[in-house]
């Protein structure tokens, strides 16, 4: 009996050790490339041209960041990214909460039809071209509002909020109604404050989506003053790729300068997400669970 237990202990310990080793390798595979990008962005053009470093740059310098920040278009793009994300998130969450609150009431007229209409939108869509034609005929091409208005609503988020509102005890609403409060009053003063966790989760996911989105710009925006950071970065990447292909064996100087600018822009574009990430991490899991329930 003792021998058996000891053997199991040993098996178990081998399992644990292997497990820790493998997971350490996994984290290294994620961390090292990211670290490499960061130190590369702080490397001088000479160091970038020579390459050959993994963990530590032979020559640190701020020239890449100086070049990026001296370009006024990055500030413009940063401003567009921040404003489209904040305005987009606030309007999206409010709009979805409003519709979700209305649909959470079982007694309303036409509810079945409304929900059926919503469910259909979850499975069918017109796709890229018909949507483009619609946006064009609405006059939203090359307008800041193309970032906000088409992104106002998502039936997934409505369903999540609807389920959340349904769990709020009826008695709260009834007592408010007796005091003469209308639906809007109850929604704004009682339900919204109570649903902050659910709304924060949706805001987080929607915010990351807005910040990272570049297809909207690629499809509907040609005016460079409306480019967000992601689109600027995309342009730099495409540019440097064509350049490096023309330059095979040619001038290495231009290539490394664009490479440095590209790296610095990557870091700047990602920084806001990395900064809020640890703060909001605890919402991810509850958010994923909310997402799972709806399915």
């Amino acid at each position: 009996m003792n021998g058996k237990v000891a053997k199991e202990d040993l098996d178990s310990r081998i399992f644990d050790t292997l497990n820790i080793i493998l997971l350490t390798i996994c984290t290294v595979i994620i961390v090292v490339p990211l670290w490499n990008v960061i130190i590369s962005s702080f490397s001088s053009g000479k160091a970038l041209a020579e390459g050959g470093f993994i963990f530590w740059s032979p020559e640190f310098s701020l020239e890449n960041y100086r070049a990026v920040f001296n370009d006024s278009s990055i500030w413009q793009a940063f401003f567009i990214s921040v404003s489209k994300t904040t305005i987009g998130v606030v309007t999206h969450v409010f709009f979805c909460a409003m519709v979700g609150y209305g649909l959470s009431k079982k007694y309303i007229r036409g509810r079945k039809l409304y929900v059926a209409m919503g469910v259909i939108t979850m499975f069918f869509s017109g796709g890229m071209i018909p949507t483009y034609l619609l946006i064009k005929s609405l006059g939203l091409l090359n307008s800041f509002w193309v970032y906000i208005i088409p992104a106002l609503f998502s039936f997934y988020d409505v369903v999540i909020l609807m389920n959340f509102f349904r769990n709020v005890p009826d008695s709260l609403e009834e007592s408010a109604k007796i005091d003469g409060a209308g639906d809007w009053h109850i929604f704004l003063k009682i339900f919204i404050p109570l649903s902050m966790p659910a709304m924060a989760t949706i805001a987080l996911f929607n915010g990351v989506g807005q910040w990272n989105d570049f297809m909207t710009t690629k499809l509907y925006i040609t005016d460079q003053s409306l480019y967000p950071l992601q689109m600027m970065l995309y342009e730099i990447i495409v540019q440097s790729q064509t350049q490096s292909m023309q330059n095979i064996g040619g001038s290495a100087v231009i290539e490394t300068t664009t490479k440095g600018v590209q790296l610095a822009t990557i870091v700047i574009t990602t920084l806001p997400i990395v900064l809020i990430y640890p703060v909001l991490q605890r919402y991810f899991i509850s958010g994923m669970m909310l997402g799972a329930v709806k399915e």
């Binding site: 199991e8 071209i129 483009y132 034609l133 609503f153 690629k218 990447i237 991810f284």
Partner: protein, 303 residues
């Protein structure tokens, strides 16, 4: 009818919250669905949606004989099946490994790190990949120092390797994030199962095989259904940023083809027809996958 109107009047306040949502759906979802009719028309820039002449299935007939379309189909399927074959199991294995960790701090650390790449956009990751794969970059440096290659080369310019780049970069980005749902499900497994198995002398791998995996069966099937239904919708952002003139033949997927035909070449009807065909096939895949997995799950439909 009268009763209906009276009810609406009485509920005007709450209806006023819903109606904007309905109007939104009609404009931004249903009008584009109606717009799909241009797949059966010959739409040119001077036409409006209704004035364009009907051409029936003509666009679909052209698609069938379009070599570039079939190239895109082959690439989409190739990349999707690689993603399905490798990318579907890795999150499951990773989740089990994280679940089996006892040390709370290391567990948290691994989770934090592995979720992180999910929050990088494809543009950012594309830029990073281009840096890593450049001749002076991280990837070549590692292979050189390990003696695997003797000459640095940029594998992003090597069309033959593109499918693998697309697949592995996608897994690098999303595998950690994919573990969240599995971990949440595993945390709900009754610990007494494991205790009982331990007393019976079951090894750790046995416990995983006989307790952990069966408990995740339904969520795994659900994920599988959703993945299969998305087989034809290979990532557009990823393709747009990683595709270049050297690897185009292997990189073009259906979505990027629709983008190129529609947005760059202005062939709206043709591009819409391709998109419509793809969504019809996707729905068929969804229904089939649901049928098959429900058979496997004792006739209980997961969807």
């Amino acid at each position: 009818m009268k009763e209906f109107i009276i009810d609406y009047r009485r509920q005007w306040e709450i209806q006023s919250m819903i109606i904007p949502g309905i109007i939104f759906m009609i404009i931004f979802c249903y009008i584009p669905i109606y717009g799909l009719t241009i797949a059966f028309k010959n739409y040119t820039v001077i036409d409006t949606l209704s004035s364009a002449p009907w051409v029936g299935l003509e666009n679909f007939r052209i698609i069938m004989s379009d070599k570039y379309f079939w190239d895109a189909v082959v690439n989409t399927l190739g990349i999707s099946f690689l993603k399905l074959g490798i990318g579907f199991v890795i999150p499951i294995i990773l989740a089990i490994m994280i679940y089996e960790l006892h040390s709370g701090r290391f567990k948290k650390f691994v989770q934090t790190i592995s979720y992180l790449p999910h929050f990088l956009s494809w543009i950012v990751l594309g830029g990073m990949l281009i840096t890593w794969f450049s001749t002076t970059g991280l990837f070549n440096q590692l292979l050189l120092s390990l003696g695997i290659i003797s000459q640095p080369q940029n594998i992003l310019l090597d069309a033959g390797k593109y499918w693998w780049i697309a697949t592995l970069s996608d897994i690098w980005k999303e595998a950690g994030w994919g573990t969240i749902l599995y971990l949440a499900i595993m945390s709900k497994i009754d610990p007494t199962y494991y205790e009982a198995a331990k007393i019976d002398g079951a090894s750790r791998l046995r416990q995983i095989w006989n307790i952990t995996l069966p408990n995740m069966k339904s969520i795994i099937s659900l994920n599988l259904i959703l993945t299969v239904s998305g087989l034809l919708g290979s990532n557009l952002d990823q393709t747009l940023v990683l595709m270049n003139s050297q690897n185009r033949d292997k990189a073009e997927v259906i979505n990027s083809y629709v983008y190129r035909m529609g947005m760059s070449q202005g062939d709206f009807s043709y591009a819409t027809a391709v998109g419509l065909g793809v969504s019809i096939v996707s729905v068929i895949l969804l229904v089939t996958a649901n049928k098959i997995t429900s058979k496997l799950n004792d006739n209980q439909s997961v969807l």
